[in-house]
């Protein structure tokens, strides 16, 4: 790209690389800048003053600051899927080909139709919307709100998936330092020399902080040279890590800090296989906040005119970027530090139009400088600015004593003093305290292990920053047990800082406190008048400090004005609660790689790859992928496949991977006694070699989980859980074992992942199994009766476990083999079963067969049902204590009108039942009083050749045979159904025992 001339670029100087010119576009126009520029500095170098529009009034706005506190200069950076709304031009590093657009304007930045809002400004005061738009009620959603929403908002999100990747990482250190200014570098030196593991985070892409613009002398050398030497020394230390482009945004419990590293935001797009940003969780024993201070504006009429800029930002642009925001600049300051800007401007050959100093007096040295350079010093304050979208033209000064003066200028630098960056120290809800000499809040308390140093701690001189930083670094290292010699602290002069507080210059015209949200001084007065005096009410009523700059330039001024109008002191007025993150952080970074298919882990069953070869359709069950059914060519839908699978099992033999069940080995002499306490039924009397169905309650008497548990040896049980509760039951049992029943000699081992388990079901099960297990194993009804359980040897010598249990109601076994043999077992079952017509079946067929048999499962074990509700009340032992026993007896849990499990059959056999339909007595109008339950599980039963279901129905067991109504207004399907026994198939269980 070829850019136009950089009209506002100095011939020399600055930390830019003039050998690396970069082209970029802003609002479609082509410009040029250099490596080392930010978008803001490059725009300034090109003489661009108008960069954005404000939120409410769409006022023209320019660049106010040179950092992450910027309220005005927000752009949409990049294009297409990478478009980033609300990007601060002041922190966006320039790269070749950068594309940015102004936002919140239509049709263009220069001619924004929404600026018509300014005409309504007399009505659009703080909170005006709470007083109107109420009539007629329907108009809010239809008319008012859509209009407000369209007008509000700032930039546009891309609207399509973010193509970039984000990473998350952990880091650990002794001492974590936020900020690489003099205090931060001195802290790193002291801590590093002491032998501490140090991490220093700097949000900028260059290390050094304010001296990058303001210079200074440290240890007798220019600050730049000292920074460079210090970096060399730090690099030579064994464990000091400096992370640039990394902002510490929050501090959490246990010394955990959050930081965001903008790894590749300075490039058009991340290089292949690299991430855009990385979220760091840094665990530090001590942390030092050396994040500096933020210069604050003064509130006066027209203070938002493009060309009005913070004084320190003017210096940053001139010194660091060799870019001149104005040619003839005025300064409005209430403190000594603002005067640095005069020296910088003169040094760069700019004209000083005037210095307006609100302090009663200025030093003779300044007077001499003014005389030499030929600019007036005016005692007073700026009362107004002439100009508009083309920038500042003229400044009106209210002189002390009442006279007025006008100053021609094309820029105005403003310094209202400095606010220490107290955010990080206040994120644990600590409130900062007021310090009078600098008229600012400084940290009072901080999260454990954290201290502030330097300007962040209210120490504004270079000498004090170095001393405080060094002392904090040395102390932090000591605290973490590092006892090396820190040496001597770097030294610099303590320049004087004097300030006369000035927050607001009263006068005509809009005077902005919060630039981005268009909160004016009169809005704050209105808020006070209406009783929103608490700073939190003020914030919420006016939206002060809630913009993307998080109030960095506005909060303190706002509450100072509130203090003034309510007749309180600033400390009495107090601050709002500081909330992380310190700078806005991309949501994608918090998510990291956890998106798309990688949102959560995927667990595959031992037979997954085999099932996949078979063309199985998989279903998500928790984290598991389970085979849902195995479609065959020519089958028209899932129902046809599932029906075939069920018929194949009921008529021959099939198998299903049930490895997802939780499996727990319970060992020890008290294993039986332990199980007696966690199950409602008794297991201590279970014979070795037998299995039993068990039901667990929560302590509140509600059913928790079920499964079969087998006794493999006198002191060894094998317990199974449902898939969903595998981890939770283990946790619960460990709680019982460790915390409640420590006297029992029992051990628990989770073996869920150790065993592959298959259910083999159907009348030909034995024929198939005989091909799998060692011929010596007796599988006859006598040798291996129903509910038998024991270890077996498979052909080839593998040891497995075999259980004669049935979920399908057929003659069935479950067989376990070490998980690594699961795949081979599936293949062998298919191979050996080929002559028998063996059919693999999925979870759908499994579900059909359990409903036909009336077995309860997840939809019935819904966390609100009792054992009796499920028809299993008789299992509740009366001879022992167990978890949940007492609470299960509460009156409402044993009430006769509870909803209990019943079977449901449509009267018209062609009707299709649906889960979630409600049960209404026949002939009654559906309503809260006639709603008697609902359908929990349904299936098409191949055996009955119709849809059947289970339901929870009020007094259901007493009403078998009654015709009721299933009511499903959501899907518009209502049927007459018969309440019946939940066991639809083989009610006396002959098949499974056969």
């Amino acid at each position: 790209m070829v850019g136009r001339a950089q009209t506002h670029r100095l011939e020399k100087g600055g930390l830019i690389d003039r050998s690396a010119p970069l082209g970029f576009r802003f609002d479609g126009k082509t410009f040029a800048g250099f490596q080392g520029d930010t978008l803001a500095s490059a725009l300034i170098a090109n003489g661009v003053k108008l960069v954005g529009r404000s939120f409410k009034y769409h006022r023209p706005r320019g660049i106010l600051t040179a950092g992450s506190e910027e309220p005005n200069a927000l752009v949409e950076l990049r294009n297409g899927a990478r478009r980033e709304p609300n990007t601060k031009a002041t922190t966006a590093e320039l790269y070749d080909g950068l594309e940015a657009a102004s936002q919140n304007r239509w049709p263009s930045l220069r001619h924004d139709m929404m600026a018509v809002n300014q005409l309504f400004a007399p009505i659009f005061v703080a909170g005006f919307y709470y007083k109107t738009f109420m009539w007629p009620a329907k108009f809010w959603e239809a008319i008012y709100e859509p209009a407000i929403r369209r007008a509000a908002g700032l930039g546009r999100a891309s609207g399509v998936a973010d193509p970039d990747h984000y990473d998350k990482a952990w880091a650990h250190c002794d001492v974590l330092i936020a900020g690489s200014g003099p205090a931060g570098l001195a802290a790193a030196l002291a801590a590093g020399r002491s032998g501490a593991r140090v991490i220093l985070c700097e949000e900028d892409f260059v290390v050094g902080g304010r001296p990058l613009a303001d210079g200074g002398t440290i240890d007798g050398m220019p600050a730049a040279e000292w920074i460079s030497r210090t970096l060399s020394e730090l690099a030579a230390l064994p464990d000091v890590r400096i992370m640039t482009r990394t902002t510490l945004f929050g501090v959490y419990d246990g010394g955990t800090h959050g930081a965001i590293e903008r790894v590749n935001d300075h490039l058009p797009s991340p290089p292949e296989h690299q991430v855009r940003q990385r979220l760091w969780r840094i665990v530090a024993k001590r942390s030092i906040v050396a994040a500096g201070a933020i210069e604050r504006p003064i509130v006066f009429a027209g203070n938002d005119t493009p060309g009005v800029m913070m004084a320190s930002a003017v210096r940053s642009y001139v010194e660091r970027y060799a870019a001149t925001p104005a040619r003839r600049i005025a300064l409005f300051t209430n403190n000594e530090d603002g005067w640095r800007t005069v020296e910088t401007a003169l040094g760069a050959g700019l004209q000083i139009a005037a210095v307006v100093d609100a302090r009663p007096d200025v030093s003779p040295a300044h007077r001499a400088l003014a005389a030499k350079a030929g600019f007036p010093i005016m005692n007073g304050s700026v009362g107004g600015v002439d100009g508009g979208k083309h920038g500042v033209r003229k400044i009106t000064v209210s002189l002390t004593g009442g006279a007025r003066a006008e100053v021609e200028a094309d820029g105005l630098a403003v310094s209202g003093g400095w606010n220490p960056a107290v955010g990080l120290t206040s994120y644990h809800r600590g409130r900062p305290k007021w310090q009078n000499d600098i008229a600012a809040f400084v940290p009072d308390s901080a999260p454990p292990g954290m201290v502030a140093a330097g300007a962040a701690n209210g120490a504004f001189s270079l000498g004090a920053c170095l001393r405080q930083g060094f002392a904090a670094g040395a102390a932090a290292a000591q605290d973490t047990g590092r006892s090396g010699k820190a040496g001597t602290a770097p030294a610099a002069d303590d320049e004087a800082f004097s300030l006369t507080p000035l927050w607001h210059v009263a006068g005509k015209g809009k005077a902005f406190v919060d630039y981005q949200h268009d909160v004016t001084a009169s809005d704050i007065e209105l808020a006070q008048r209406e009783g929103f005096e608490s700073v939190e009410h003020l914030k919420r009523y006016t939206t002060l400090g809630m913009a993307t700059d998080q109030g960095k330039t506005s909060n303190v001024a706002g509450l100072a004005i509130m203090a003034a109008v309510s007749g309180k002191s600033i400390p009495e007025t107090g601050t709002t609660i500081y909330r992380p993150p310190y700078v806005p952080v991309a949501i994608g970074a918090f998510a990291g790689h956890h998106r798309d298919e990688n949102f959560h882990a995927t667990r595959l069953t031992p037979s997954h790859h085999w099932a996949s070869e078979q063309g199985a359709v998989f279903v998500d069950t928790g984290l598991w992928k389970r085979a849902q059914w195995y479609p065959r060519p020519g089958e028209k839908d899932w129902l046809e496949s599932v029906t075939r699978e069920v018929k194949a099992v009921r008529g021959g033999v099939g198998f299903c991977d049930v490895s997802t069940l939780g499996k727990i080995d319970v060992h020890g002499p008290d294993a039986g006694a332990f199980l007696d306490r966690v199950y409602i039924n008794t297991f201590s009397n279970l014979a070795v070699g037998k299995a039993r169905y068990g039901l667990m309650l929560r302590e509140d008497g509600i059913v928790y989980d079920d499964g079969t548990t087998s006794r493999l040896a006198e002191d060894h049980y094998f317990l199974t859980t449902t898939t969903a509760k595998a981890g939770l039951v283990m946790q619960h049992l460990e709680f019982c074992r460790q915390v409640l029943f420590p006297e029992l000699d029992v051990q628990l081992t989770s073996v869920s992942d150790q065993w592959a388990q298959f259910s083999i079901a159907g009348p030909k099960t034995r024929d198939l199994l005989r091909e799998i297990v060692d011929p010596a194993e007796d599988l006859s009804n006598e040798g291996f009766p129903f509910m038998g359980a024991r270890e077996v040897t498979l052909r080839g010598g593998i040891k497995g476990r075999l259980f004669r249990i049935s979920f399908s109601g057929e003659m069935a076994f479950e067989i376990s083999v070490p998980a690594r043999y699961g795949d081979a077992l599936a293949r062998n079952l298919m191979l050996a079963g080929k002559p028998l017509g063996v059919t693999p079946y999925g979870t759908e067929a499994l579900g059909v067969m359990r409903i036909e048999k009336g077995h309860v499962a997840g939809p019935e074990l819904n966390g609100t049902t009792t054992a009796a509700d499920l028809g299993l009340g008789k299992m509740m032992s009366t001879k022992k204590d167990y978890i949940g026993r007492v609470m299960a007896g509460r009156e409402a849990l044993v009430a006769p009108d509870r909803q209990v499990v019943v079977g449901i059959k449509p009267v018209d056999k062609t009707s299709r039942l649906r889960s979630g339909a409600h049960i209404i007595p026949k002939g009654r109008t559906p309503g809260p009083d006639t709603d008697q339950g609902y359908v929990t599980s349904v299936c098409f039963s191949p055996v009955l050749d119709q849809w059947i279901g289970l339901g929870l129905v009020e007094r259901g067991r007493e009403r078998i045979g009654e015709i009721v109504h299933t009511h499903d207004p959501l899907r518009g399907e209502d049927y007459d159904v018969e309440l019946c026994s939940p066991v639809f198939y083989d009610p006396d269980g002959g098949r499974q025992r056969g």
Binding site: D253, G254, T256, D700, G727, Q731, E734, Q738
Partner: protein, 91 residues
């Protein structure tokens, strides 16, 4: 938040699962419905130092008794919870 597991050392919150107040003791089998109700449902819900159950499921599977300040989240002690919820002999 980080918990120093007595068996595994200092670990991140994500390895642990919270249960709740470790003060209630499970009543005897002979206890009344009222006593069990109290155990299961009523909580001091203290604002300040609280002893509570955490499960180190992402590590050693030990149940721990953690003493933590609910106002500040600061942890002052971590011990194995063995027997903490059990009725004491004679109690």
């Amino acid at each position: 938040m980080r918990i120093v597991c007595p068996f595994c050392g200092e670990r991140e919150l994500g390895e642990f699962t919270y249960l709740g107040d470790a003060k209630p003791v499970r009543p005897a089998a002979s206890a009344s419905e009222d006593e069990v109700f109290d155990y299961v449902y009523l909580r001091d819900n203290v604002a300040g130092q609280m002893s509570e159950y955490w499960y180190h499921g992402g590590g050693c599977r030990a149940w721990l008794k953690v003493t933590r300040n609910t106002l500040t989240h600061e942890i002052s002690a971590v011990e194995p919870a063995a027997g903490v919820g059990a009725r004491k002999v004679g109690a």
